[in-house]
Symmetry: C2
C-alpha cells in the first residue's frame, strides 16, 4: 500500500451513497506533508514525459497544481468555472456536468495562458466521471497544445472517468484507485497498480 | 520597489473602473517563481509571530496558502463559499459580501479544522474592502483561535479593507499596496512601506 492509500484508510470516512470524505487532509484542510508527497509521486510517475505547464480546475485542484508547478518550476493555470461563460476571442470554453451541483458548468481558460507550444500535465484531487478532466483536455486541444498526462490523487475506480480516459489513450496516473468501498464496515479495497 | 511591485508594473494591466488585471501571474495563470517569493516574503514579515495553521478562502487564495503551508510545514485550511450555508454543529459560518458577484456569500469551515489552540495566519491574493478577511477572522474567533496575522499579496490601498483591519489592531502585511492607479496613462503609485 502506498502513502496515500494508507492515509485514506487511516483518516478517510466512508459515507452512505458511495461517498468518501477526505476533506480532513485533501480538499478542505490540507495535510501539507501528504500534499508534498502527492506532488513528488506524480512528478516521478511522469518523469518520462515533457511538461511545461500544469493545468487544473478551481478550487481544490489548485493545491496539488501549485505544489507540482513548484517542483517542475513551470507555470500553473487553473481553469475557472461559471454557469454562463461562452467562448469569445478572450477565452477557451468547455462544458462539464457537475454531479455535486446537478447542473452544467462552463469551464474556461483565458487564451493567452495556453498555446500550441504547451505540453500540459492536467492534475486534480479527484477523478470520478471524468467531466472536469475531459473539459480540460478539450481546452488544451482548442489551444493547439498537447496533453502530456493526467495526474490524479484519488480515482473512484467504480465510476467511468478513468476507464474512458485510458480507452481514449491518455496517460492517466492515479495515486490511489478505489475499487470498492463499504460504508457499513468502513472498508476500502484499492486497485492493485 | 520590491519584486511584486516590479512584476505588477511590468505585467499588470489597468482597466477602466479602477480594475487591476494581474491574472497572468497571480490568480488564473500562476508564475510559480513569483508565488514562491510571495510566500517567502510573507514568512519573513511574520517571523516574529507564532503560526500553526494557514487559512485562506477559495479559490485564488489557495495557491499562496499552499506555498506558505509548505514553507511553515503546517496544515492549510481553505474556507468554502456557498450562497446558502447556515451555521450547524458541523461548521463555522460567516458572511461576506461579494462586490464581484453582487451578493452575500456564506463562508464556512468545518469545525474540526479550527480550534482554540490554533494561531492562524490568514492569507489571500487580494485585499480590497476586507469582506473575506473579516469573515475569516470571525471564523477563527468562533473557533476560539487567535489570528496571528493577515498576509496579502496585493492590497488596494484606496479601498477600506486595509484601513479597517489596521484600525482594529490586526497585524496586516501586504507585499504591494496600490495607492493610486490611472488606466489612461497605465501608471501605478505604490504606498511606501
Amino acid at each position: 500500500m502506498n502513502f496515500l492509500e494508507e492515509k485514506i484508510l487511516s483518516d478517510g470516512i466512508i459515507k452512505q451513497g458511495n461517498i468518501l470524505k477526505i476533506d480532513n487532509f485533501l480538499n478542505h484542510q490540507i495535510d501539507i506533508n501528504i500534499m508534498r508527497q502527492i506532488a513528488q509521486e506524480l512528478k516521478r510517475r511522469f518523469s518520462d514525459v515533457e511538461v511545461n505547464k500544469v493545468l487544473t480546475i478551481e478550487a481544490s485542484g489548485i493545491a496539488i497544481a501549485t505544489m507540482l508547478g513548484n517542483l517542475y518550476d513551470v507555470p500553473v493555470v487553473f481553469a475557472k468555472k461559471s454557469e454562463t461563460a461562452n467562448s469569445t476571442d478572450d477565452k477557451y470554453v468547455s462544458q462539464a456536468y457537475s454531479f455535486t451541483h446537478k447542473h452544467m458548468n462552463s469551464v474556461f481558460v483565458s487564451r493567452p495562458y495556453l498555446s500550441s507550444s504547451d505540453r500540459v500535465l492536467i492534475v486534480d484531487d479527484f477523478l470520478a466521471d471524468g467531466q472536469a478532466a475531459h473539459a480540460l483536455i478539450d481546452i488544451v486541444h482548442q489551444a493547439g497544445g498537447k496533453v502530456s498526462g493526467i495526474g490524479i490523487a484519488v480515482e473512484k475506480g467504480q465510476q467511468q472517468g478513468g476507464k474512458l480516459l485510458r480507452e481514449e489513450g491518455y496517460r492517466l496516473e492515479s495515486i490511489a484507485i478505489i475499487e470498492e468501498m463499504d460504508w457499513q464496515s468502513q472498508t476500502i479495497r484499492f486497485r492493485q497498480q
